[in-house]
């Protein structure tokens, strides 16, 4: 199985399209960092314009490495799923399109085993992509901008987390984001298993994510209480939950606290359920499928 996984990873990382995602993330992160290095103050001023008249806001201190990383993740984690689909949407359908799938299945390995290996190759690619993003957005931002307290702007409140209380939250958030992105990988993996060419699963994954993200973000009662709690895109934002901190009666934040930990665990459970459903469905369908190419 390990040899098979190595073989799959070799095939994945030999394709130039695999590196598109790494290049795209590097370009976006660099552009955001450059913009915030030059106009970070103006950006924070825009965000906090409603309280600018009431409070003296230390803009220079706010635009530190931790805040830059949060801003990047906020902008980027909506789009990274699209990049994940580039590889996982291609991993089975690409072989079908190239005519190598039948050849692959002549090996003395069960279809289930083969699909599990291919899925793990997708997971590894996703994790490497996420690590790359974490390195660029967190490590490089901290090196460039230094560290200080993290100020998170929510729709109705501003949350400040002490510098010493931030780093573990990023580790937790990236861990959560890994699960969220694996859901996307498993969705496009599932679509890839029922398709004969790779464009279809990639475009379908992107379309599904766009539609579901819009539904998740719209605040319309008919969706809020019916389908929204079940959409994986609603739960994919759970990484942010680690940056929502509890406060005491005087409004002072409690170090090390997370305001709604059960909601985060619930989101994780929903995301794991989706991974099992998508991957299980792919294996189930693929085992019963006539492979003609």
């Amino acid at each position: 199985m390990w040899n098979l996984l190595q073989f799959e990873l070799f095939k994945t990382f030999k394709k130039p399209r695999t590196y598109i995602a790494f290049g795209a993330i590097a370009a976006i992160v660099f552009l955001i960092q450059l913009a915030l290095l030059i106009n970070g103050k103006e950006y924070v001023q825009f965000i906090l314009s409603s309280v600018d008249e009431t409070l003296v806001i230390p803009y220079e201190k706010i635009t530190n490495g931790y805040w830059i990383c949060f801003a990047i993740l906020n902008l980027l984690l909506i789009h990274v799923p699209i990049l994940v689909a580039l590889v996982s949407g291609d991993i089975i359908a690409g072989e079908a399109n190239a005519g190598t799938l039948r050849l692959l299945l002549t090996k003395p390995v069960s279809r289930t085993k083969l699909l599990i290996v291919k899925f793990f190759a997708c997971v590894i690619y996703t994790l490497i992509l996420l690590l790359w993003m974490a390195f660029l957005s967190l490590v490089i931002s901290v090196l460039l901008f230094g560290t200080n307290d993290l100020v998170v702007a929510k729709e109705f409140e501003l949350v400040q987390i002490e510098k010493a209380d931030v780093l573990w939250r990023y580790f937790a958030a990236f861990g959560f984001a890994a699960v969220a992105l694996i859901v996307v990988a498993s969705l496009s993996f599932f679509l890839s298993s029922i398709s004969e060419n790779s464009i279809g699963p990639i475009v379908a994954t992107v379309s599904i994510i766009i539609v579901l993200t819009i539904l998740s973000e719209m605040r319309i009662p008919i969706y809020d209480n019916t389908i929204k709690p079940y959409l994986f895109t609603t739960h994919m934002l759970g990484w942010k939950g680690f940056f929502y901190i509890d406060a005491d009666a005087d409004g002072q934040t409690i170090k090390g606290s997370v305001s709604n930990l059960p909601a985060i665990f619930k989101s994780l459970a929903v995301l794991f359920a989706y991974i099992i459903i998508f991957t299980g469905s792919a294996i189930f369908i693929f085992n019963r499928k006539d492979i003609l190419s």
């Binding site: 965000i47 409603s50 309280v51 008249e53 009431t54 409070l55 003296v56 806001i57 230390p58 201190k61 706010i62 906020n74 909506i78 200080n148 307290d149 100020v151 702007a153 929510k154 729709e155 109705f156 409140e157 501003l158 949350v159 400040q160 987390i161 002490e162 510098k163 973000e217 605040r219 934002l237 759970g238 990484w239 942010k240 939950g241 929502y244 901190i245 406060a247 005087d250 409004g251 002072q252 934040t253 170090k255 305001s259 709604n260 909601a263 989101s267």
Partner: protein, 229 residues
């Protein structure tokens, strides 16, 4: 006729005497505060604003005559209200360009205090009215309310301890008006119900409070102008 003349004189002179009393008391407070040319203080600041969730901060407070004040958090970030300059009592009672009205007495924390109302003479002054509550025995202001044209009403509550001889408080609670905070929808991509107002968020509560607990003062040791830039 004689009795009527005495009564008339009494009615005419009593307010003048009260006013002189009030001015003398204010002068006494002012003299005490004038002992401090500058200070650097270590303090703990607690912020209580409906839309802010912030940690308790260790800050340094710098003051330099006549009206420079700066609150700095060297280790982290602190949101300081813009009217925090009122934390300096000199700003409220400096100059003589106002009319002092004696408004009687009241009890605060079981201590009887004198109430003085300061009405600025200049119509264009941003301050409409200041009311100060003075502990006559110690010649210190224990409470001050300032109503401004632009920023509503500020309130100061002070408790004194070791530095009462300089008129410097150990504990100051500054109450101020806030405006609503709201981010554009779709900008934050909030998770869970964070987008809805949580229990702790009472955006209709338009008053904020900061409490500064002074731990130590370095008085008249000199403070550089660079600090206030």
């Amino acid at each position: 006729m004689k009795a009527f003349s005495i009564l008339f004189l009494f009615i005419l002179l009593v307010p003048v005497a009260f006013s002189q009393d009030a001015n003398a008391l204010l002068e006494k407070v002012r003299n005490k505060l004038s002992l401090v040319n500058n200070y650097e203080a270590d303090a703990i600041m607690k912020t209580n604003v409906s839309f802010l969730k912030v940690p308790q901060a260790t800050v340094k407070v710098y003051f330099k005559k006549p009206d420079k004040i700066m609150i700095r958090n060297e280790k982290g970030i602190s949101f300081v209200p813009k009217g925090a300059v009122s934390i300096n009592l000199n700003n409220i009672i400096s100059g003589n360009n106002f009319t002092v009205i004696d408004a009687g007495h009241m009890t605060i924390n079981n201590n009887q205090v004198k109430i003085l109302k300061l009405l600025p003479a200049d119509e264009n002054n941003n301050v409409i009215l200041s009311t100060i509550f003075i502990d006559e025995k110690n010649a210190v202001i224990v409470k001050a309310k300032t109503t401004t044209k632009d920023n509503g009403t500020f309130e100061l509550d002070m408790k004194y301890g070791k530095f009462i001889e300089y008129g410097l408080a150990d504990n100051v609670v500054f109450t101020f008006n806030t405006k609503d905070y709201k981010m554009p929808k779709g900008f934050t991509f909030d998770y869970d119900n964070a987008a809805q107002k949580s229990d702790g968020v009472k955006n209709n509560d338009r008053q904020g409070k900061i409490e500064i607990k002074y731990l130590s003062y370095k008085i008249n040791k000199g403070v550089s102008d660079e600090i206030f830039k």
